[in-house]
């Protein structure tokens, strides 16, 4: 079973789009983050769900034309994973094994 990601407290995260940047206000820490694509889209996709990287990618593909830079070796899944890890460091997102989550719920 794979790793799944979820927003720790979805009701306490606010997104405010500005231009190519979006503000993310985290009520729990009181910190404002300024984030670029695809970070806010990942947060929106997760919402109150717990999803794997593959599921997030699939959801994003339905709504957006996903492209990575031509000279990049990263896949889109790598980019999503990197953003998820950053959100984990910021205390906004957490992850667990799918099995563990099933047991909890």
């Amino acid at each position: 079973m794979g790793t799944i990601y979820y927003i720790k407290d979805n009701n306490n995260v606010r997104l405010h789009p500005l231009d190519y940047m979006t503000l993310l206000y985290d009520r729990l820490s009181g910190i404002t983050h300024i984030v670029a694509e695809p970070a806010p889209q990942i947060i929106e996709t997760l919402g109150s769900q717990a999803l794997s990287v593959e599921q997030i990618e699939r959801e994003l593909q339905k709504q957006y034309d996903l492209k990575v830079f031509e000279d990049s070796d990263d896949s889109f899944a790598d980019i999503i994973t990197a953003r998820l890890d950053e959100f984990i460091d910021l205390g906004i997102i957490d992850k667990c094994d799918e099995e563990q989550k099933v047991k909890l719920t």
Binding site: R14, L18, D19, Y20, L23, Y25, G30, T32, I34
Partner: protein, 283 residues
């Protein structure tokens, strides 16, 4: 202890001093301001040691909010000490508005907000606008109302620095000025009493209609600023954004959503004034 009170915009202060002269000077320069019976903050100018009241008198700024490592100033700079004390109370203690370290002026019922680093010319520009068809609202803090997003005036004494002193004396020959305070950490400083209409109308707020980032000493240029850049710079320019939590977030995002933003570079104040008026005519 000698003391006085004064009200600047929505904020009331009680100012105490171990010496008579600084209080007399404050009363003289702030003569047109209301004298409230209740105060939001207290500022005190105290001798560092009892004998330093008389021998090489040295002023320590005390108050509700203090900087632990603030150095004392000589008595000749007591007025500057008092002004620094007033600013410090606002910057660290005021919660009723979002505070932007910015100058502001009003025309046609709408407010222009200007922010930038020390030396950008925001203070001088706001003062000059105040004598050129605008109402001066403040040269140090723009207070943004959390409920309706309006800019609330804070017309304290205008702080002129270095070459701005002579420039302003030339442009406004009948200006009421405080003593020239030489060799401060920011160079020479001289305070100027704001235009009387600014003081009389200091309760009249105005909706922000433009935000400018002026920059003195560069080739003349106007550029639009993206909301994200403006937001980031304003969080740095605000003394209480972090403290205000989500209330501050709401107030600042509303301000950014509703206000067009430009950066202007200029070589002299005449150019800057005409650039401001040109931009203003298009809103």
């Amino acid at each position: 202890m000698f003391e006085t009170t004064l009200k600047v915009g929505p904020a009331s202060f009680r100012i105490g001093s171990d010496w008579k002269e600084p209080i007399a000077l404050i009363d003289e320069l702030y003569a047109a301001y209301p004298k409230p019976s209740l105060s939001d903050f207290t500022v005190r100018m105290e001798a560092t040691k009892p004998w330093r009241r008389y021998i090489r008198p040295s002023v320590q700024i005390k108050g509700d909010y203090m900087l632990p490592d603030a150095l004392p100033l000589p008595l000749e700079q007591a007025f500057l000490a008092a002004e620094m004390g007033l600013n410090l109370q606002m910057a660290l203690g005021w919660r009723r508005h979002l505070i932007l370290h910015a100058s502001s002026a009003e025309k046609d019922g709408k407010a222009l907000i200007m922010t930038g680093e020390s030396g950008s010319g925001k203070s001088t520009l706001s003062a000059l606008l105040g004598y050129n068809g605008w109402r001066f609202m403040g040269d140090e803090f723009a207070l943004i109302d959390h409920d309706n997003g309006e800019a609330v005036p804070y017309p304290r004494m205008i702080s002129l620095k270095n070459q701005a002193i002579a420039a302003m004396e030339k442009q406004v020959p009948n200006a009421v000025l405080g003593p020239l305070i030489e060799a401060t950490p920011k160079g020479d400083i001289r305070h100027m009493v704001p235009p009387i209409d600014a003081i009389r109308n200091m309760e009249k707020s105005a909706r922000p209609a433009m935000l400018l980032f002026p920059r003195f000493g560069h080739d003349t240029e106007v550029r639009e600023v993206l909301p994200s850049e403006a937001f980031m710079r304003l969080t740095q320019a605000s003394t209480n954004y972090v403290t205000m939590g989500e209330v501050g977030f709401n107030t600042l995002t509303r301000f950014i959503d509703e206000t067009p933003v430009y950066a202007i570079d200029y070589q002299n104040s005449e150019d800057a004034i005409s650039m401001v008026n040109e931009l203003w005519s298009k809103i």
